[in-house]
Amino acid sequence: MKRREFNKLLLAGMAVPGMELLRNGMAYAQTPAGGLISLLAPEPPMLVLSLNQQQPTIVVGSKMFESLLDYDFDLTPRPQLADSWEMSEDGLTYTFHLVKNAKWHDGVPFTAHDVVFNCSVMLMEVHPRARTIFERCESIVAADDHTVVFKLKEPFGPFIYAFEVDSAPMAPKHIYEGTDYKNNPANEHPIGTGPFMFKEWARGSHIHLVANPDYYRQGKPGLTEIFFRVVPDAASRSVAMETGEAQLAGWNDVENFDVQRLAAMPHLEFTTKGYEFASPLLWYECNLRKEPFNDLRFRKAMMHLLDRDFAVERIMFGLAAPATGPIASTTKFFEPDLPRYEFSVEKANAILDEMGLKKGADGNRLTIRFLVVPAGEMWTRFAEYFRQAMAAGGIEVVLETTDIAGWGQSIANWDYEVSNNMLYQLGDPAIGVARSYISSNIRKGILFTNTQGYQNAEVDRLFAEAAVQTSEAARQELYSKVQRILVEELPVLWMTEQRYATLHDKRIVDLIVSATGVNSNFASARYA
């Protein structure tokens, strides 16, 4: 290289940043006319709801795929692909009358045969949660093109809650029947019945859906398009909501400590409604197979050391309510009249003294291991709070860290002492609650079962009986009984009923209209 060229190179190097600075100021708010830009994190692996039920998949998939029903804030079923439905007297037969003018996005009419195919063939193969429910059916038949009849082997009270969009999403029979579902080319270009159709997925950047002009509800959808922007960093997500580059944040999109600041902004609407169907309950889980957790007195002492109000205020920043037992107060069959474990260090120490756990020279009675859930800031704080709370009772806690795969493996294989866990209630205790406490669900190697190893024959019996009852009153009585037993025996240490923040552009109305919130199809959302 000649000297002159080298000098040019140097000059060019200086000129590049200079040019960049000269770029004129531009406003970067990207509001589309009549459309919506939603945040999305993390990026889903695929969009076909039948094949994947991770949170981001549901948020996007629920706009394209639908199920027979949706649910009001109080969990009353409301029409989606089914216009009406009835249950027989004996609780064994459910008949659904489907909407007559629904079409798949490729123009093929949606019929009862699609429902039969999904519920009796495809979901049975690919959907772990749907499998356990539709197994209860003796037969699923199409009485005519728009009527489906489910016959159960025995009554199942919560059957009506099986038709929420991610519990039983409908995929087109004419596309999937007889194929390898997981490798069907249509997975790349999802075809559903929903108010929005797939347009484009720029991986790592955004997913683009457009309004379905042939949607079966007159005048809907009210939005022209939806963009889901993948923004992996929580601080950047808050910035996006602040600048208007995104108009919707749900679930954990905004960190708890940032919610109040954003909620106060004049252009944003804030609500905690729309999570009633999930109603997640968070708890500390002890491995009951191990000392000293197998001793009820020790669990009671731990419960007295934990201040649920503190967790609500300081960890969740108000986005939670203290949990009082295994059933969340936002769902059905919650029993308000239960004994409480008040926060009392003295009581806890008295119990520990009585157990004969003496304090050593260092002031500690014993040391226990805590496996931190590696899923974000909130979980770390719950772990740190646990260590601090236990210290008051002379219990030393060693925090152990891992990644999400390692955490899953340790919990599923019962290789832990204490950890956190959080489960959705999924509309009904028989679906979302019983699984954590019945002894038939102690299954090694499988997450979200009765991993702590709790066994009580009476609890098993009550849950089993409550599931097959169809009278609400009879079920309430059984569930109240079981809640009393569980609160007395503390299979897990319940902490908080989680609330989530949904923040959205104020100009958009009728966005959060049901118990499934940001997981619903957004058909009614529109600009005011």
């Binding site: 000297r3 000098n7 970067y28 589309p32 790349e188 991986r203 955004h206």
Partner: protein, 325 residues
């Protein structure tokens, strides 16, 4: 002929190291605890025994380790990166669509840091002891000590939120599909500025300090004294005899930093939602997406090799003696 033999030896060396890297990667990835089925279950909040079996069989995890390793190396030899069962796509497709943005970001940051480092280092070294020198040294020390993600957030705060000059994150406007070529390029460039500056800052700081000391050292060399004795002007001495010599160690060092640049891009890509390889690595690790992870390790090691070749090339431009040797 000799050149050809040298070239062949080099290619063989690269191929061999790629195989060693592939074997080590595979062993490491598979010895980490955790199971993809449980990760999927963990994220979707539901699972049963049949589901876990299905996933294990799909990933081939039910076969003995040596057979899995053999299958994998065979695929690498055929340049087949495999199939991501999690994302239901070919790994090569997944990587290819992310490669462009990453290369754009990496190369911009590489050149920005190199050029910026050389320029500021030269300015500082030339005015050793003056206020300008002090200011540049101070700023570069500050940049060096600043965490990458924090710098990124501060830049966003100033340029995106306060001044509203530049977009806060992303690769292009979501409506970019309808843009013309020039408009699109301009849009991507405006999205590139903040992440490129963020990623290059720490390296620019290092190169500035390196260039400064290198220049001061060269200033005392014999050939500079000779040039001065010849009666050349100070400007000519600087340009012809000092800058080029001083830049050589900086370029060498920049080549060595290429690997770290890819590592740093994970953070920058996350903060700025940049759809590049760094984020794909991060997602694949947390999801235990083995085929993608292995493909990425392989591709990034090739990238490091490529950047080193590029450095060699720049070396030749800056110091013609390298080509002769």
């Amino acid at each position: 002929m000799r050149l050809l033999r040298r070239l062949l030896a080099r290619v063989a060396g690269i191929a061999f190291s790629i195989f060693v890297i592939a074997t080590i990667n595979f062993t490491l990835v598979h010895s980490a605890p955790g199971d993809p089925a449980l990760v999927i279950a963990g994220q979707s909040g539901a699972t049963d025994a049949k589901f876990i079996e299905q996933v294990r069989a799909e990933y081939g995890l039910d076969k003995p380790f040596m057979i899995q390793l053999g299958t994998y190396l065979g695929k690498v030899a055929r340049m087949d990166l495999g199939y991501s069962h999690r994302q239901r796509r070919q790994v090569s497709d997944l990587i290819l669509e992310r490669l462009g943005p990453t290369l754009l970001l990496m190369l911009s940051a590489f050149f920005l840091s190199l050029v910026g480092g050389v320029v500021f280092g030269a300015l500082s070294g030339r005015r050793q002891g003056t206020w300008a020198d002090l200011a540049i040294s101070l700023v570069s020390l500050l940049l060096y000590a600043t965490p990458v993600f924090w710098l990124g957030l501060m830049l966003v705060l100033v340029f995106s939120i306060q001044l509203e000059w530049l977009p806060a994150f992303g690769y292009a406007n979501i409506h970019a599909a309808g843009y013309g070529a020039f408009e699109y390029a301009r849009d991507v460039a405006s999205h590139l500025i903040l992440p490129a500056i963020t990623l290059s800052a720490i390296y620019m700081a290092v190169y500035t300090r390196l260039m400064r000391s290198s220049l001061i050292e060269v200033a005392h060399e014999d050939h500079v004294r000779t040039a001065r004795a010849k009666g050349l002007t100070e400007a000519a001495i600087r340009r012809r005899h000092m800058l080029r010599n001083a830049a050589v160690p900086v370029v060498t060092f920049a080549g060595l930093q290429a690997g770290a640049l890819i590592g740093g891009s994970v953070v920058v890509e996350t903060v700025f939602a940049w759809p590049g390889l760094g984020r794909l690595i991060f997602d694949a690790v947390t999801a235990r997406d083995y085929p993608v992870l292995l493909g990425l390790f392989l591709v990034t090691s090739m990238l490091v090799i490529a950047v080193n070749l590029l450095t060699d090339l720049i070396h030749r431009l800056v110091d013609p003696r390298v080509a002769v040797r």
